[in-house]
C-alpha cells in the first residue's frame, strides 16, 4: 500500500509538486510564527512581540492552511479515476482512504525538514527587521526550541488528514460503479451538507461585519481580515453557483462572437458548462484578489483617516508590517493559483485532443484557450472584489460614517492587473503545452 501511494506520487509529479509546495508553506509559516511566540516568551518585554506575532501569524496560518487544504482536495480529485479503478478491482473503501492518508502524511513528513529550516530562517530575519524598527526589544532572539517545528508538522498532518476525509468522501463511499460514474460526470452540483456549511459561514461573515463596525481601528482591521478569509471559505464551499453566475454574465460578449472561428463562443459555452472545474480555477484567483483588496482597503483607509492623528513614524511601521503581510498572502495566492490552473489545464488534455480530432484547428484551440483564461481570470477578480466588499464597507463604517472605503488606485491597480496576468499566463502556458501533445495517442491512452 505504501509502495502504491508513492507510485501515484511518482507518476503525477506536477499535481503533487503543487501540493508539496503548499504543505511546505504551511509547515514553514507555522514554524515561523511558533518561533516568534517562543522568542516572545524568552525575551524580556516581549509581550508586544507576542502581540505582533500573534496578530500577524493567525491570519497567515489560517491562509496557509486554507491553501494547503484546497490544494490537497485538488490533488486527490486529480487521482479520482485511479482511485475509482482501484475500487473496481476490489479495493475496499478503507484501503482507498488509507492510500490517500499515506500520501498526505508521507508528503508532509517529506517536506517538513526543509520547511522547518525555512521557517526558522524567516522567523530570524523577521525578528531582526522588527528589532531594527524598534518594534521588538533589542537583543531579542529566536531560541532553538524544537516545539514550534514539531507543532507545525503535527498541525499540518492533522488538518491534512481531515481534509483527506472530505476529499475522498465521494470516492470511498457507495459502490464501485458509482465511484466510476462519478469520475466521468462532474455535475457541478454541491451536496446539501456543503451548501449548509457555506450558508453558515456566510451568516458568520454577516455577524462579523456587524460586529466590526463598532470596533477600534486595530480590532476592526483584524476582524475585517478574518471576515475576508471566512468569505473565501464560503466561496470555496459554495463555489460553483457564484462562479457560474459571474461567468455567464462576463461570457455574454464572447457568446455573441459566433461568426468566424468561433473560439470565443466555444470558450464561453465550455467554461459555463464546467461550473465545477471553473469554480476550482476561480477560487485561488479570488483568494489572491480578495485578500489583497481587503488589505489595501484597511491600510489605505486607515492611513487616510489617521493622517495627522498619529505620528508618521508609527503609521509607517504599521504600513511596513501590512506590506510584509500582503507579500506573504500574495505568495500563498500565487502558489494556489499556479498550482490549480496548471493542473486543471493539463487535466484537460483528452478534451483538447477530442476537439482536434473532430476538426478544431490549432488556431481555434489557442483562441479558445485565450478566451477561457481571460474569462477565468476576470471571474476570479470580480469574485475577489465581491468578497472583499462587505468587510471593506464594514471597516470603512467603523472609522467614519462613510461606507465608501478609501483605496489608492496607484497601489491597487497593479495587484488586479498582476492577478489577471498571472492567471492568464499560467493557463496559457500550460494549455499551449497540452495542445502540442499528439491528439490520437492522448485520446486512446488508458
Amino acid at each position: 500500500m505504501i509502495k502504491m501511494a508513492w507510485g501515484a506520487l511518482r507518476t503525477r509529479p506536477a499535481s503533487f509538486a503543487g501540493l508539496a509546495t503548499a504543505l511546505f508553506l504551511a509547515v514553514s509559516v507555522i514554524t515561523m510564527f511558533g518561533s516568534m511566540v517562543a522568542a516572545a516568551t524568552t525575551t524580556e518585554g516581549g509581550s508586544d512581540l507576542a502581540l505582533i506575532g500573534g496578530a500577524f501569524g493567525e491570519i497567515a496560518m489560517i491562509m496557509a492552511m486554507f491553501v494547503a487544504v484546497t490544494t490537497l482536495g485538488f490533488a486527490i480529485r486529480g487521482q479520482y479515476r485511479d482511485l475509482a479503478l482501484l475500487r473496481t478491482v476490489a479495493a475496499t473503501p478503507r484501503q482507498v482512504r488509507r492510500l490517500v492518508r499515506f500520501q498526505v502524511a508521507g508528503l508532509i513528513l517529506l517536506v517538513s525538514p526543509p520547511a522547518w529550516a525555512a521557517g526558522a530562517v524567516a522567523a530570524r530575519s523577521f525578528l531582526s527587521a522588527l528589532v531594527d524598527r524598534g518594534l521588538a526589544p533589542a537583543g531579542a532572539i529566536v531560541p532553538g526550541n524544537p516545539l514550534p517545528p514539531l507543532i507545525a508538522t503535527l498541525a499540518t498532518v492533522l488538518v491534512g488528514l481531515l481534509a483527506a476525509v472530505f476529499a475522498t468522501w465521494r470516492i470511498s463511499r457507495g459502490t464501485p460503479s458509482a465511484a466510476m460514474a462519478g469520475t466521468s460526470a462532474e455535475t457541478g452540483r454541491i451536496g446539501w451538507f456543503r451548501t449548509l456549511l457555506g450558508l453558515i459561514v456566510v451568516g458568520g461573515v454577516g455577524v462579523l461585519c456587524g460586529f466590526l463596525v463598532g470596533q477600534e481601528p486595530d480590532e476592526a482591521a483584524q476582524a475585517a481580515l478574518l471576515g475576508a478569509l471566512a468569505s473565501m471559505v464560503a466561496l470555496a464551499l459554495l463555489g460553483p453557483l457564484p462562479a457560474r453566475i459571474v461567468v455567464t454574465l462576463l461570457g455574454l460578449p464572447l457568446r455573441l462572437l459566433r461568426g468566424g472561428e468561433s473560439g470565443g463562443w466555444l470558450a464561453a459555452v465550455n467554461t459555463r458548462g464546467h461550473a465545477h472545474r471553473l469554480s476550482s480555477a476561480v477560487v485561488p484567483i479570488a483568494l489572491l484578489v480578495g485578500l489583497s483588496t481587503t488589505f489595501m482597503v484597511i491600510t489605505d483607509t486607515m492611513r487616510h483617516h489617521m493622517a495627522g492623528v498619529l505620528p508618521d513614524a508609527v503609521s509607517d511601521d504599521d504600513v511596513w508590517l501590512r506590506g510584509v503581510e500582503v507579500a506573504m498572502l500574495a505568495l500563498f495566492g500565487t502558489v494556489a493559483t499556479l498550482n490549480t490552473l496548471i493542473s486543471l489545464t493539463t487535466a484537460r488534455k483528452r478534451e483538447y485532443a477530442l476537439l482536434t480530432l473532430i476538426g478544431a484547428t490549432k488556431r481555434q484551440l489557442v483562441r479558445m484557450l485565450a478566451a477561457e483564461s481571460v474569462l477565468t481570470a476576470l471571474t476570479g477578480v470580480v469574485l475577489g472584489v465581491a468578497i472583499a466588499a462587505p468587510v471593506s464597507i464594514a471597516f470603512a463604517l467603523s472609522l467614519t460614517d462613510d461606507p465608501v472605503p478609501y483605496v489608492s488606485m496607484g497601489d491597487y491597480a497593479p495587484i488586479l492587473i498582476g492577478a489577471v496576468l498571472l492567471a492568464v499566463t499560467a493557463e496559457m502556458v500550460a494549455g499551449l503545452r497540452t495542445i502540442a501533445l499528439d491528439p490520437a495517442t492522448t485520446v486512446t491512452a488508458p
Binding site: T11, A90, Q95
Partner: protein, 258 residues
C-alpha cells in the same frame, strides 16, 4: 499453445472443477434518478447461473444488460431484490466485506480495460492480490501472461500496448487469482474480430478446463455464440433464454427485439 489447459499453470482448484457457487438473482430492480425523473434500468429480473456455465447477456443499448451485470457482480447495488453467490447474499454485505469477497471469488473484465496507466503490466496483474495483502508470485505472473499471449511484457506500461493486448492484461488480472466466477462487460467491444475471437476463446477455455462460471455482456452475436446460454433483455426485463444457439439464431432473435 494450450490456454488454461495446463493444470501446472493454475494448480488444482481447491473445490475441484465445477463445484463452484451457483449465482441466484431474485426480483432484481434498479432505478436511477436522471434529471427530474426515474429510469427503471431493471424491472424485476429472476435468473440463476449454474456453476461452470458460460452465459451471454444481450439486448439493445439501454436494455439494462450492463446494469444487470454490475448488480450481479457486486459493483452496483440494486434498488430492490437479492443476489446470492452460493450461500452468501451479496446484496446484504457492507461495501468493504463485499470488496473482500469479490476479490477472492470474482474476476471482472471491462470493455474499457480499466488498467492503471501508471503501473506496469505485471503490477496491474497482481493489483487485486496486492490489495488483499497477498504474496506476489512472480513466476505465476509470468505464466499467466504467457497464457494470454503476453509473455515477456511484464515491464511494459499499458499505454504502449494495443487494445487487444491491454484487454489481455485485464484478463490476466482477472484470472491471476483463479476466480470461481468471471464477469465480462463487452470484453471484445473495442477489439477487431480476430483479437476478439482469441479473447473469447480464453474465456471459453477457462469455463471448460476449470469449471469457472462466466457471465458476459455483449451485443455481438458471434461473441455470444461462444456461450452455452444466451439471455436477451429489453426494457430491463429478460425476454429470451436460449440454449446453445448459433450466431445466426442469435442475430435473428436480436433483430426481433429492436
Amino acid at each position: 499453445m494450450s490456454l488454461f489447459g495446463n493444470e501446472q499453470v493454475y494448480g488444482v482448484r481447491p473445490e475441484g472443477g465445477g463445484a463452484g457457487r451457483e449465482i441466484r438473482v431474485r426480483g432484481l430492480r434498479r432505478e436511477f434518478k436522471r434529471g427530474g425523473g426515474r429510469v427503471h434500468a431493471l424491472q424485476g429480473v429472476d435468473v440463476t447461473f449454474a456453476p461452470g456455465s458460460f452465459t451471454a447477456v444481450m439486448g439493445p443499448s439501454g436494455s439494462g444488460k450492463t446494469t444487470l451485470l454490475q448488480c450481479v457482480a457486486g459493483m452496483d447495488r440494486p434498488t430492490r431484490g437479492a443476489v446470492h453467490w452460493g450461500p452468501t447474499e451479496i446484496t446484504r454485505l457492507r461495501e468493504h466485506k463485499l470488496a473482500r469477497l469479490r476479490r477472492s471469488t470474482v474476476g471482472f473484465v471491462f470493455q474499457a480495460y480499466n488498467l492503471m496507466p501508471a503501473m506496469t503490466v505485471a503490477e496491474n496483474v497482481v493489483l487485486p492480490t496486492r490489495l488483499m495483502g497477498g504474496r506476489v508470485d512472480r513466476a505465476r505472473v509470468g505464466r499467466v501472461l504467457t497464457q494470454v499471449g503476453l509473455g515477456g511484457c511484464e515491464k511494459e506500461r499499458p499505454g504502449r500496448l494495443s487494445g487487444g493486448q491491454q484487454q489481455r492484461v485485464a484478463i490476466a488480472r482477472a484470472l491471476y487469482n483463479q476466480p470461481e466466477i468471471l464477469f465480462a462487460d463487452e470484453p471484445t467491444g473495442a477489439l477487431d474480430r480476430n483479437t476478439g475471437r482469441e479473447i473469447l476463446r480464453l474465456l471459453r477455455e477457462g469455463v471448460e478446463e476449470h469449471g469457472r462460471t462466466c457471465v458476459m455482456v455483449t451485443h455481438d452475436p458471434l461473441a455470444a455464440s461462444f456461450a452455452d446460454r444466451v439471455l436477451m433483455m429489453t426494457d430491463g426485463e429478460l425476454v429470451e433464454d436460449l440454449t446453445r444457439p448459433s450466431a445466426a439464431v442469435i442475430a435473428e432473435k436480436l433483430g426481433g427485439l429492436s
